[in-house]
Symmetry: C3
Subunit: 640 residues, 3 copies
């Protein structure tokens, strides 16, 4: 386990570099990430390259034993380039072309951007590819940051048409898959196909889902172009990219595929609390089922929050430990020193604006020395997996049916229940085929139908697995049209029940129309004493081979079945017909979760010698079970 920082030698005078390097060493850091916004310094005018300044900076850093993570600077095509090729700048859905002056203004599908990116990456790769101090590469920086994944320019329109041709082959197939006959929109030429744009009524959800896929693929391809160059010029160096919190426009399963490992920028202030931070960390680990880097760790208050709330003492250190116990192998702080220029002046660093140490410096230093004192602890594979899929997320995003239906929130509410009970969880993609090491797999609103998955699940359940599937699963084709079979389409045998109706549940304060309420509560079929509340979505079930577990307790749905369980081979399948207000409560009632949980986060880890360690983290501002506020305790708990 190591630490590092993001450093911008180009922001400071050369005279300062030596002192900065000393301070990095003093903090115990190993890595320095450089260069991701320096295209304008590397190529100050078209075709003129200058690496001398960075060479000097690296020399100084390397002289102190620091290792360099070099970035490709493609997020910020310089002003001379966008002046030469204004078409590089992205276009909004309403046709307005994005201005320069910020970052991530480029569209991945513009030939000029691709050409110039290829050239600068090649030059940098050539220059630093074999540099002794350069140990690895970060490609670009935070693809998609600031809602930049999707562009609506003419180049994207043409690229989308090519993508559709590759995907569907001919127009007849596309017209049929999308159901373009609806509202009479069948296409007789590829060029007629619209991209998402301003209309008063919505455009086809099939087209719009494909545009989301296409846009994500555009950046996967853009990354692949760079990866191919770097593999050629910089062998034996690893390649990574820094992923973001709560990021929904790029398919991270696909984006991570070509990388050696995943990096992640950990900004808990963009999230709901420690459970959602943990969920993002677990997702990062799961993308490649291996240790990942924190490439940017929040070091204090940020600049992009409506209120930029304070960060209590110890919190930055605790965030670092939390990342570590979820599988991060390096924590890089963003940034070394607070910037006195530009758009992030209110973002803190390890040093203050005036160059003095800020609180984060000491916390990073402490974290580094604490972690170095431990053996190299690793995650223990979890027995519980949650399916997470971007196509399902997008399909629901496009047509939530109930304004409050968020796929992410559904996944989170399930994850949170397990997290609170200290049960480790991994995420898996819809395509996951190696399921044997899981005891429980939870499938939240797996909207799109994947026929192969049914076969894999069937076998895994027969062998003893417990599959938990929720409402809204297997209701749509891969083209985002509705299943015309019984629901859940293709799953009725596995579930042992069919869905006879589904309804949106308006929130309690909804009173536009009279008080026709589906009801608010479910109860076990064999008890009228205990009831649980549900929200947002409710399906009624008709069991065939399954056993009813819960039924609706009141309102229009009273007495209809809400939850069933089907035994298959030595396993079972639970189907959840409604969204419980509290997954904890229901999970405990159904025996999925233990009956109690403490307030400390407990994480078990494994040392290289096979022994099991326990980490206890206190995320609260008061002491719990002798763990101080924002503190952590590690101890060995087995000799295995």
């Amino acid at each position: 386990m190591t630490t590092g920082c993001a450093y911008y030698p180009e922001h400071w005078s050369e005279e300062r570099w030596e002192l900065d390097a000393q301070l990095m060493k003093e903090a115990g850091l190993t890595y320095v990430r450089v260069g991701e916004f320096a295209w304008n310094k590397f190529e100050p005018q078209q075709g003129t390259y200058d690496f001398s300044w960075m060479d000097k900076a690296i020399d100084i850093l390397a002289a102190h034993g620091l290792k360099i993570v070099m970035c490709t600077p493609t997020p910020t095509p310089p002003p001379w380039l966008t002046a030469l090729h204004p078409e590089i700048c992205r276009v909004r859905e309403d046709g307005v072309r994005i201005s320069t002056g910020a970052r991530r203004h480029a569209c991945a599908n513009v030939p000029a951007y691709q050409t110039f990116s290829r050239k600068i990456v090649e030059k940098i790769a050539e220059h630093y590819g074999q540099h002794e101090a350069v140990v690895g590469w970060q490609i670009d920086n935070e693809f998609g940051c600031g809602e930049t994944t999707r562009c609506y320019c003419e180049h994207c329109r043409a690229a989308f048409h090519r993508w559709l041709q590759e995907t569907y082959g001919d127009l007849e197939t596309l017209n049929s898959a999308w159901g373009t006959q609806f509202w009479g929109m069948s296409y007789t030429d590829w060029s007629q196909i619209p991209i998402p744009a301003i209309t008063t009524e919505p455009q086809s959800p099939s087209m719009r889902l494909d545009y989301r896929r296409f846009s994500s693929d555009s950046w996967v391809n853009f990354q692949k172009m760079q990866i191919d160059l770097l593999r050629a010029y910089s062998p034996q160096r690893w390649l990574t990219h820094n992923f973001m919190i709560r990021h929904w426009s790029l398919d991270y399963w696909k984006l991570s595929q070509d990388l050696d490992f995943v990096s992640y920028d950990n900004y808990p202030h963009g999230l709901r609390g420690p459970a959602e931070t943990a969920m993002n960390l677990d997702l990062m680990w799961s993308l490649k089922r291996k240790p990942f880097w924190i490439m940017e760790q929040q070091p204090g208050p940020v600049n992009w929050h409506p209120y930029n709330p304070p960060v209590p003492e110890g919190q930055v250190r605790l965030w670092s430990h939390q990342a570590y116990v979820h599988g991060a192998e390096t924590v890089v702080y963003f940034r070394f020193r607070a910037a006195p220029i530009g758009q992030e002046q209110y973002h803190r660093g390890l040093l203050k604006w005036n160059g003095e140490k800020d609180r984060a410096f000491y916390e990073a230093q402490q974290f580094t020395s604490e972690i170095k004192a431990l053996p190299s602890l690793h995650r223990i594979p979890a027995k519980t997996a949650i399916v997470f899929d971007y196509n399902d997320l997008w399909s629901i995003e496009l047509e939530p049916y109930n304004r409050n239906f968020s796929y992410w929130n559904l996944v989170y509410s399930i994850y949170e229940a397990y997290w609170q009970h200290n049960i480790p969880v991994e995420f898996i993609p819809r395509e996951a085929s190696d399921l044997d090491h899981y005891e429980t797999i939870i499938v939240p609103a797996a909207t799109l139908i994947h026929p192969q998955e049914i076969i894999r699940w069937q076998k895994w359940v027969e062998d003893g697995g417990h599959l938990i599937i929720t409402f809204r699963s297997f209701t749509r084709t891969y083209s985002n049209t509705s299943a015309t079979q019984e629901l859940p389409a293709g799953l009725t045998n596995l579930v042992g029940a069919k869905v006879t109706s589904f309804d949106s549940v308006p929130p309690d304060d909804y009173h536009d129309w009279y008080n026709h309420r589906l009801g608010k509560r479910i109860r076990p079929v064999d008890s009228t004493f205990v009831t649980f509340e549900y929200k947002i979505w409710a399906e009624t079930l008709q069991p065939t081979t399954a056993t009813p577990l819960f039924q609706y307790a009141d309102g229009l749905l009273a007495d209809h079945i809400a939850i069933t369980q089907n035994s298959i081979g030595s396993g079972r399948v639970t189907y959840l017909g409604c969204w419980p207000n509290d997954f904890n409560e229901l999970g405990r009632a159904l025996g999925w979760l233990p009956s109690q949980h403490g307030q400390l986060q407990e994480q078990l880890l494994q040392a290289p010698n096979g022994r099991i360690w326990q980490a206890l983290l206190n995320h609260y501002e008061y002491p719990i079970d002798e763990v101080a506020p924002f503190d952590v305790q590690y101890s060995q708990v087995s000799d295995e």
Copy 2:
């Protein structure tokens, strides 16, 4: 009384059509509406027409005795056409051209759209005009749906200039009528006249009111073009168009004029409850004072609501009965089967996606058989009329003065009071000349001055009528400039009072400025015990010949007169100076409404033999006076 459904043979395989026809017959349906979005199937490429598929579908339907309502498919110009003529697509007020891919993307004033629309309508009219199974036509579909009435393209700009030339003749007249000298905007050439567009301060309310008129006229003309063709090619068939709930951008009085009868798409989930549903139904009946069709009846939850709340059992049947007792002669359900493709996949039908019967199938079936068992009952002409006018609505929409002043809400709050007391109401236009069959006419905020109306009212009151006029009436010229006479302009004699001041009443929770309150209450001039609250608008009155009925009870307006009554001949005129919080309360105090009302809706109807029937409808989810929840009872109550 008959029923029907909207059917899209083009969405389903031919093999299914026979079964669908059988199911329609099983439900008892008579009519099938087809074709409104099928331009692309009728004319798959420019100049190539194909009616064979529809011929086949109609053959199957007709073989089961079903009658066809054929639609013209002009709401969805196909992709090949908009690719050929991109200017067909509407332009937003900010200059953004609407994309294709949805529906109603066309501007009524674009020559290419007009030409191609004429051609396809002519072809269809030629082909089906004399078809035995085709009994009538729906022109286009929901003009204005999705805020599409107004377009701001260059063709509209030119057409508006032509419309203005026809309306005003010369620029001097226009400059004078609009008062363009304000802010120095007099025009020396027609081409200088702006259309509504982005500005930071508002544009002329006179220009903007005319643009609303012009935009509405554009679609009336577009419809007329089709009517002329259909009358020629399809004699002895009726022509209709399907109107919408709460639709305010088209002048429905004008749009209905050229049609044989009005149709209406009844989606109660876009409305406040059964009273507003009733108001829309009464408006539809009133447009031509004759029975109308429900061309689309909501069959369950819809897809376009933020929450798409559930629909309780029996509700669809009750909505059908409610339409019937308000004067609908046919109820067509939308749609036969839920669509698995396109933008309305979450909209229910009589059948589910998988082709099984959904709950609405059984309710439609029950409704059909119940209604067929009754004699053909018709509305009894009402003795109470409410004036409803789009120009008044638009004028207030453009300058509400108080953000909460909504013309529609004012009309509704009056209507609701009558509806709750089971007093039948009709709506009349400002131009209505045949007033003799009314005992009471209510005139809510008739903002614009109609001199002829004064003369007609004078006579009708003298003959015994009771005219109730509210605040804000007769305050503006037809060009939306302020009257420079005493208010209500031209009406002071009839009212027997003049308005000495008017004020906006901020809501109770308004506290930007100190607590200078006009006051909140009025009271009878002869009592200090009873007071009623008012809101939004308050005028002080100075009676000449009228008797003061109510005065303000508190605040800055205390003791000023609020309501007057003037006796003229054998009739009287009541002037209401403020907007009562509760029209029920005030209506009862003034003797306009009976002192009590029940919860059941009671509607009296007349059989062909002259006998009077009573329908009792329970809109609630609990039984009332022995009528079950969502149930209806019909009984004969007189032998007249």
Copy 3:
């Protein structure tokens, strides 16, 4: 002291002018403002001028002894001109060109607008420059009204580049001052520099602050062009411009410089109440430290408020008196008669639409006669000054850090405390050098560093002044980059303390992240009994020579110093580290404010004979200390 009205002869028939003039005299008015929107009447087509109509109107007014304030009509370039030069119309930040049809549609940087403006101003100046009845000029009307100061057209882009060249000389200086290396945005050609435009992440705060300065300067220059012409053609006439309430896009210190005196349009319904009205009036007086005009006085309800609340009887008269006691020497009512045409039909006047006297007529008449009965009273110089600066306002507006941080609100909350205690206040610019007559100077969030100011303050404090400086002062360079020294940068000696941390304080109802609270209260260092709440912003201080006065009382900041006081020479410097919820409370505790205050506004004024008069104003709707609601009492209180 005199009164007047805005009059539009072009809105009324010539026959009416004589009666209007008589009514103006009857009201006691002296001045009539004319012409500001009449470009189209003065120049009905390009190069054709017509002053005859205005000559006639002026003849009639002058015949009644009324004096004319002539306006230049540049706010409304006529339709023929914008048809000829469409590029005159402003462009929004998203690239949409503003339409004609309203007012203030022009961009100050378009050559055609400048040329035609110069021509019409020259013609009018030539014609009326020496006219006997014309006593002064209003240039244009309400620069910036309706958010029109900033335009984003190509002419502005070019002008901004010129402005930058003049300001920075060369690109290296600009790149360095702005810190363009951040996100790699250094410029190699002036034309590459973006203006504010649509991006997904923000553009450089340095560029954006300069664009605010440039935009303000554009109008200052546009005004200067007119001033030069008028000075040449109309000697011995004064020149003014009418400034607005709460106006933040123009630097009023700069805009007032070239004028003879400032005028102000007093619309209290756009403000929070009498204290904010007073603040605007004091700011107007302070701009040139001399009497100003009210060029437009609200005469009753307006048309532009969401609710346009009523105005109680006596309020217009009281507003006039309030303006007078704050230093207005003339009050001009807007407008003489309510307009029946155009966009302001719901705006009241002295006369109603029908030409009858409205309530404001009588109140203006009463005010005029009351004031004429008094000696000519003038303001007494205040001993307390508040620094007010547009650059500080803009810097914070661009990056509030805490969404609730408003520079204006901070200034207001301080001003209000003094106003409530009847302590007179003046505003001074950051550049103010003549400080000797002040005892206290308050410096709210003086964000930008002004080195000269430090020297001036040092001396003034040594001589006995009390300087009160708040949080967030001296934290940024003039280019809006962060200070890299200790904070407050350059002020640590004067303050005798340094800022060791600053934090945003989220509001109480903020719960996105856990409950990490800085705390809510401060207390005197020597007492635990009294505590005061703070909000929005909190800094911790480390005194060097200063004495701690207050410390934080709870939460994460507990025990850190919040307020310090430093003695220097015979003066002192107080530094306020947090934003108190209630400046009254704190001001009293620190001895800045007396311990009590009444509800009447008390203003002391000086007569020409040196004697002191007291004015007592009751802004409430109930009597206070024998002053009736909305009444005022003047009395001589000294013989000095």
